[in-house]
Symmetry: C2
Subunit: 521 residues, 2 copies
Amino acid sequence: MAKAINTEQNYIAGNWVKGKGKEFWSYNPATAEKGKVYIEGDQEQVNTAVEQAAIAFETVKKKSTAERATLLESMAEELEALGDELIKVCDMETGLGEARLTGERARTCGQLRAFSALVKQGHWQQARIDTAIPDRKPLPKPDIRRIFRPMGTIAVFSASNFPLAFSTLGGDTASAIAAGNCVVVKAHPSHPGTSKLCAEAMQRAILKNNYPPEMFSMVQGVSPEVSQALVQHPQLKAVGFTGSTHVGRILFDLGASRPNPIPVFAEMGSTNPMIILPLAIANNGVEIAKGLANSITLGTGQFCTKPGLILILKDKNSPEFVGNLKNALESISIGHFLNARIHSSFQKDVAKTATVAGIEMVSTKDEGGKLFEIDAEHFLQSPNLEDEIFGPVAILINCDTINQLNKIVETFGGHLTGTIFADGDSELSSVKDSLEDKVGRLIFNGYPTGVEVCPSMHHGGPYPSSTFPATTSVGTAAIERFCTVKCYQNIPEELLPIALQNKNLDRILRMVNGVYTTEDI
Amino acid sequence: MAKAINTEQNYIAGNWVKGKGKEFWSYNPATAEKGKVYIEGDQEQVNTAVEQAAIAFETVKKKSTAERATLLESMAEELEALGDELIKVCDMETGLGEARLTGERARTCGQLRAFSALVKQGHWQQARIDTAIPDRKPLPKPDIRRIFRPMGTIAVFSASNFPLAFSTLGGDTASAIAAGNCVVVKAHPSHPGTSKLCAEAMQRAILKNNYPPEMFSMVQGVSPEVSQALVQHPQLKAVGFTGSTHVGRILFDLGASRPNPIPVFAEMGSTNPMIILPLAIANNGVEIAKGLANSITLGTGQFCTKPGLILILKDKNSPEFVGNLKNALESISIGHFLNARIHSSFQKDVAKTATVAGIEMVSTKDEGGKLFEIDAEHFLQSPNLEDEIFGPVAILINCDTINQLNKIVETFGGHLTGTIFADGDSELSSVKDSLEDKVGRLIFNGYPTGVEVCPSMHHGGPYPSSTFPATTSVGTAAIERFCTVKCYQNIPEELLPIALQNKNLDRILRMVNGVYTTEDI
């Protein structure tokens, strides 16, 4: 297997090559120093990646689900086999620390194995069969069968804040491969060395399983032109993206405005409103303040599920709650920002927020998490306060009445999550009704950070938190984004996908004449 | 119940009102004469429709699935109760004839009842439950539950060629209502009187079932401004459209470029390539020619599934097959075109096609179905020949070799259907491979016209045949287009949708901890 030498940092259609685009540097958040020099790919290299993947797809799409499952398992194994080097390089590039990164690697491998199990089980293909009724009047009924099939080549944009779990071999790549597709990764410039190691692991997994090497590419990219070339390539079929609303919308627009439009599944910014009702504060205020402060500062607040808007009802207990939250926040040492740009954006956004009419900065510690306090009337006059500030900051909104609180919720755009704390509060039902429509995941008496990887998880939400609110980027349902549907009418059995043949070899759940069954036809 | 008087032709949020837009006329295709004058709605009326529907949605979304099922059943009953008047008015506006329209009404009511049954059965909600593991290490696992929920207000654009089945109470309206949404119909100007009658039926069904009248509106519209106002309304959540690629793409772009983008599910033009292999021609050529001629001319060729491109391999039998097809076509009396615009477009497109280098018009009968013949080399030099011509016409392509035939297929964009006739031909497998990626539904030894309404049907395909190839506008899977996903974490049971509560009251199929079951938790 060809191993990359130092300047060969782009993995294009089975070859490690030197980028032909711009130079950029990795950055060590812990020391605030520049690291290694990298060279991004150029449009020609992107084109090669997509074109070769499209050719490889002809082979990839014929692989059995068992072969696909084994490839995913190998991806997890090869990622683990990178050992300490991966954690070391990744920590140098992200400053996230060994404990978090070891956990994130375990999650990433867990995701790959969850998709491996899913693919083997086969229910996800949503196979449906309606058998023929040749003597039906007035017209005979044909035999019709329908199933999820892979799309072709998928672009995956890595995220800065999850260098493993939402990057080169992260959830989007795992789900796209699980569905039977080829993948071109646009690596995040915040962790180019991590991306290179992960792509090497992928290269090994591909060779071990006799898949065509061209099925996977990893392009380093810091210039918008690289992303643009990728999303606009005529042979690309879909995009998975995790990042800011600003960039996500640019990519979505590029995908939608192509001669042949493609979906850009963008999971974007979110401020994750949290409503804490009076009895919850009265009975558990101290504990909630601590938990909330942890949730705001976890990962230096660089999570898309960080709670950024806290709504409470003013009463005799609320000032103490705000004080507890301030103290809890000030007692937490926050970590590094992922890169210099995120750090300076955070400082700028916080400074700008501090100038909003009626707002007060509650927390005073220079390098700690930030808490702002504002009353409902002033909040309603400052619509930009709903925008995500990426980093350890939250805005607490004091409401006079539950109606005022619900009125604020009604002004909200879409968010990935919404949380309600209640402890027998009579307002719970009305608050739940108003918040439910604005979020993808509704949480009760808990914290939105921490996204369980399971079949029921939905990590998406109304725009602008995602571009396709009915899809998720976390959990096994994520596979559905990268599937298309094929339907077969009176097709000879030997030409049908195995999952649609009469004999239900893998005992997958199929809808046969409207009834779910694992039986043969 | 308020019944519309003559000039009240728009049904806006529960009221029959006079349109405030432009005047237009219905048209009788049989006599080529103008019918009655109609006035379309204006932007303000569209706004009222969407805004009132958004308010009604707060009531509609709380209706039980049983109530939704009964509403759909009533819609079918009230449509049937319109009796002969509906068929008479519809025939005057479309020239489709009593037999076809009676059949189409039966299909439309069948669709409504199929969705009624689906809603009651409940599996379509794709309920998933992962129960909590409080003592899991390192972190407790929360209780997470996920389900399909309605989106809000959906716009449905009626189609000219199916005045009942793809119009006011057609498949898109049925599936949107089944999913629990409100609907605003943009009526097709080809059949305004039919639309009015159907909206009256809907009004009765709504009142009978105690649904809010504002949940449904029907706007007459002939100007692009009406469609534009509807698709751009900030409170609209999705669009269902059936029609031309040109208009479908305009609406898709409007939806995608909104401040908050929404999906425009457009089922658009398609030329439905058909490959007839040599042994099929040798053994069944006469029969296939007859069936194909019927399929080309059915409904005056005004079906989105009309086969418009026929690929054959030149051999000793092929000239006779072309002759048989010509004779079969010339023996069929074609019906009326739906309107004057479609008729003149057809004539213009046919005349333009006749000027393509190397093409020959085989059929000679003035008012019959049209057949063109061209060889593969010339076809490859004329890319526009793949575009849909709406009406009774097909282009037959003579190929020298199977490689040349497959090469042509590889140049194709997306189509709703693709058909292969074979009778032991060794080329079947390679042809199936090349055609499969280009179409939504692959048919063997049959005709693409006639779209079965069943769970396995897929009426969609790669762009430009549809904007979302993984979705269908026919069959029960159509409901998924108009659903969004909600996820609940640790939510008190009484606040959960019934389908997610521990007791599985309706015995719907749910995925519980990764396993499908109809049991209680």
